[in-house]
């Protein structure tokens, strides 16, 4: 009898889940482009298709897209060749130069997708100076950064890494020897988080929108999270890789990071809108330039 009652409840309440169709009938599959350009690196672009929810399509590899890169002064764009090993469309000889504008196009001639195109200008790498670096506690470090707030309000991705050294001896006879360990640091506390600084869920480091900084001096606190120090190891230098990025790079990675956070924590955040600078498609074409700086820890 007890089982019968329970089964009745299960039947009643399990019927409370149904598949439904939303009004996605007007949605069409689109091409998706993921490409980041930087001086000194080759051109690597991923091309894929979006998937309409409720349809029978799948995420298939696209190996026969026509992908090309060009500049406004080029007569013919340069085709990118599909690399089976990496799944990217590549050109190892095409030169990317800071300050120049590039366009990437992609199409699938035999399909119904619209051709896609995106443009980006390679930003000039900007200087950010580390003014001070302190170790405040085990695994916690404070950094003071200085931005050059010129008329160009830039976007950055800052990737802090800790250079690990082995040490031996004591007192004034300590010997330091650099090892290859590079530990990641996560941002714990910042002077201004009001959308000026955004920590990334899917990449190392954090994004900075210079236009939203209240001051050109930024005090940040980092925590060592990328591994543990051995007894004879110490962090001597903080290494900052500073990427000056295009707005598309900044907006896209910020949107992706927010979406990933929303998906993990649906109850305490709003769904985040997607970003794209790809005409007739999704994804992004972004660019960055890199500078490195390091400072010894006091």
């Amino acid at each position: 009898m007890r089982s019968l009652i329970f089964i009745s409840f299960i039947v009643i309440f399990s019927s409370c889940v149904d598949e439904i169709q939303l009004d996605s009938s007007t949605e069409e599959q689109k091409l998706v482009l993921h490409c980041e350009l930087s001086e000194g690196l080759g051109v690597f672009a991923k091309v894929s298709e979006s998937l309409v929810i409720g349809s029978l399509e799948q995420f298939d590899k696209i190996e026969d897209a026509q992908v090309a890169i060009s500049t406004p002064d080029m007569i013919e764009p340069v085709a990118l060749i599909y690399d089976e090993n990496t799944g990217d469309y590549v050109s190892s000889f095409f030169e990317i130069v800071e300050g120049k504008t590039y366009a990437v196009t992609a199409s699938l001639p035999d399909m119904d997708h619209e051709d896609i195109e995106a443009q980006v200008t390679i930003p000039s790498s900007e200087e950010i100076r580390i003014l001070d670096l302190q170790s405040v506690d085990v695994n916690f470090y404070t950094v003071r950064l200085e931005f050059d707030l010129n008329n160009e309000m830039n976007f950055y991705q800052i990737i802090p890494k800790a250079n690990v050294y082995n040490f031996s001896g004591s007192g004034s006879n300590i010997l330091y020897e650099h090892n290859d360990k590079l530990l990641t640091l996560d941002l714990v506390e910042g002077a201004n988080f009001d959308e000026a600084i955004h920590e990334l869920e899917h990449k190392d480091g954090f994004l900075v929108n210079e236009a939203l900084l209240e001051d050109n001096i930024l005090d940040l606190t980092f925590q060592l999270t990328g591994g543990q120090l051995e007894a004879d190891e110490i962090i001597r230098y903080l290494n900052l890789e500073v990427r000056t990025t295009s707005s598309s790079y900044y907006n896209y990675h910020k949107a992706v990071s927010k979406q990933l956070f929303s998906g993990q924590n649906p109850t305490v955040s709003e769904p985040s809108l997607s970003y794209t600078n790809v005409q007739n498609g999704y994804g992004f074409l972004g660019a960055f330039s890199t500078k490195q700086d390091s400072l010894q820890i006091n």
């Binding site: 889940v17 998706v32 959308e195 990933l260 924590n265 109850t267 955040s269 809108l273």
Partner: protein, 878 residues
Amino acid sequence: MKICMIIALMLFGFAHNAMGQTIPDEIRTDYTAVKKELGQVLWDLSKNTGVNIAFSKEKIQADSLVSLSVKNEKLGTILNQLFVNSDLKYEIVGNQLVIKKDEFINVEEIITLTGKVEDASSGEPLIYANVYLLDPSIGTETNEDGNYSLTISSGVQRLYVSYLGYKKTILELKLKKDSTLNIALEPESLLNEILILDEDLVEIEKSLSSSSELPVDQIRSIATLGGESDVIRLAQMMPGVSTGADGFGGINVRGGSADQNLILFDGVPVYNTGHALGIFSIFNSNTIKSAQLMKGAIPARYGGRLSSVLDIRTKDGNYKKTGGEFSLGALAFKGTLEGPIIKDKSSFLISYRRTILDPWIKSLTEYINEFVNKKGFAEYYFYDLNAKLNFKLNAKNKLAVSFYRGRDLFDNNVTTFTSFEGQETQELNQDNWSWGNQLAVAKWNSRISDKLFANLTAYQTKFDFASFDHQRFEEQDTFFQAGLYKSKISDLGVKLEFDYLPNPSNYFKFGVSAIQHQFNPGLINKNEGSDDIDNSLVLRQEDLDERLNEADISNLELTAFVEDEVNFGKYLTFNLGCHISNVQTSTKSYTSYQPRISFMANGDDFWLKGGISRMNQYLHLLSNSGLGLPTDLWIPSTDKIAPEESWIYTLGAGVDFQKGLFGKIEGFYKTFNNVVSYSEGALLPINSNNEWDQNIPIGKGNAFGMELSLDKKLGKMLWFASYTVSFSNRKFDAINSGQQFPFRYDRRHQIKLTLIRKLTENAEFSLNWIYGTGNPLTVPYQLIEFTDEDGVRRLLPIYNEKNNETLPDYHRFDIGFNFYNDYSFGRQKFTIGLFNAYNRKNPFYLELRRNVDRPERFEYAQYSLLPILPSLSYSLSF
């Protein structure tokens, strides 16, 4: 010198039971006379009305010339108009009227009659009972404590006292001086909960605010969920009120959010009104005396919320005899006991309600989990406790002390055992939610003079919510994710309010209050990478509690108000007032001046009313809108979060179609400023160490719409039908790229029908049908893949716009039957009902998932909350 008149005064006059008798001077007629002899006029009136009018020609100067023109006017009013500048009056003797000299012509002209209106069988004060003269424009109503004050001419006066559910009482009084008169009304001897047969008791609209007097007397007749009568479900049936699925997430009034409703329980604010996340309310219907919902043109005495006021008053307890009610339903057990401590001097009321399904829920979930190779179970229960003591200290002073405590507890602890490549793994899922309210109130009510009443209230109201979720996966390594999320708010308040009635044309209310708000929001997340957690230990809620370090914010809210309801003759009334409030944060002071203006113009069969209200709110509720799961986080206004503000404009008209049928149409327009939301993407932990408030997006909104309703209040079948069309939008710079989007609970169209029909003397049935277009929500239509820095391929939904999709429509049909049996010791009632009778799968929330049979295919799964649910309940009252 005041003469204190007790009910024995009724011996000087005579009390009428208005049912079935026509009083001679209330017969209506048309009449016109131009410079006609008084005697002839009296003769004509007698002929027109069939009422014998006796007079002496010499004594009344019957040959004096008079002029008169009236249409459908009462005979008594016509005679008063004829004699206004003379020393004549009329007196009822049997079935005729006798004209004579007014013996009171030389006594004090204006006197004040004051007193209380109570239930004759219990001594319970009757709120908003009507007290008026033959000319109904000269009248008043009792206040929230059952007190009234009426300043009128001396002499012979007929006083009418009426209240729904009670026999109308008519008193003939000879008044020479200020007097005190306490009136006890006899309840209708009803065999069941509702039956209105007297058209006189059915009133055309009388409130200036855009309000609905919730028919609490019908609350136990209406078909309900699980046999539980519920005042919030009753409010949901009013036009302009919408909710999430099945009451989930509170009520939204005219496009406002759930936190914008000031819900008062005996004058004290309540922050969360829902058990089972809103499916049931915390208000035990056995204790409720009255409930009024104000949606616009809100009087100045109310403040602190933007959209509406739900003013719920509880019973005092029977002053005359001990009684109670016990009921057992499919979901809960309820018991109420009330009675005198000292007869007619003091009373008590205590009521307790608790769910009874705990053992079933535990066993059922344990059974289901065993079936699918899991171990563990879920538990859930809620309870309410209401207690009240009342003391009539003397004829002018009364003290009431009341207490409420309610709690919900949900626990779900399940472990899944699996085997992967020969290795045993286990996954632990824990969800522990608890929330509840606690109120303590002390109220002193005093009649300071014949025209001045005062209330002094001191109270504490608390709400807390805690949610702990923990997933732990043990394989070769241990992975876990745990979050603790807490919201606590506590108010300590004192308020002093006055009612002053200097004359029948003015009713002043004014007062001051101070509320100390204390907020403790907290939010913390940990995982296996967290430095301060030992991964080998299974986390408990206490472990996160120690680390939570909630923010501790307090502020002091000061308010003052003044309002006056002014009658300009019989047909026009205004309510003019201002509510002023101030709150201090650490560096800022927010002061708000909130004018309130409303008017009503009414004839005998119609009314027109409107109003403008400015409202302010120093508290904000952060509520997620993605999946539709409410997470109530109360936060205060701070240096960075300014108070919310709104303007509400309303205009409406109504008609009495006679025979108890009323129609109404009302339009509204609202604007909101400084509304808050969770931000898109990352939300920093909320604790005392970070500036969390700078990450709260601030925006604005608007709402507008129209409500149509028809209401039949008379006869064996009562019904109420309404249609609402409304729009509600929000706009935040930091959300949806700064573009305006529909509000989460913007239901475009709503249709509601409630019907109660008496079948026999001992049986009735009721039905509800409710329809609403679906709520907006944000859904992606497409997905893309991308590869992150570690080479992991991840799926990303494409969100183009906020609240871009509408859930399927919500509709539901409920039916219920009530059967009564009366015995010498009391009354029994059996109720059978069917909630969601045609088993509509109303949408609760959507989940994006892979198809079970074809995992490469993605689909939306709609979860529904409440399927068809039969109920059976039994109650015994004595």
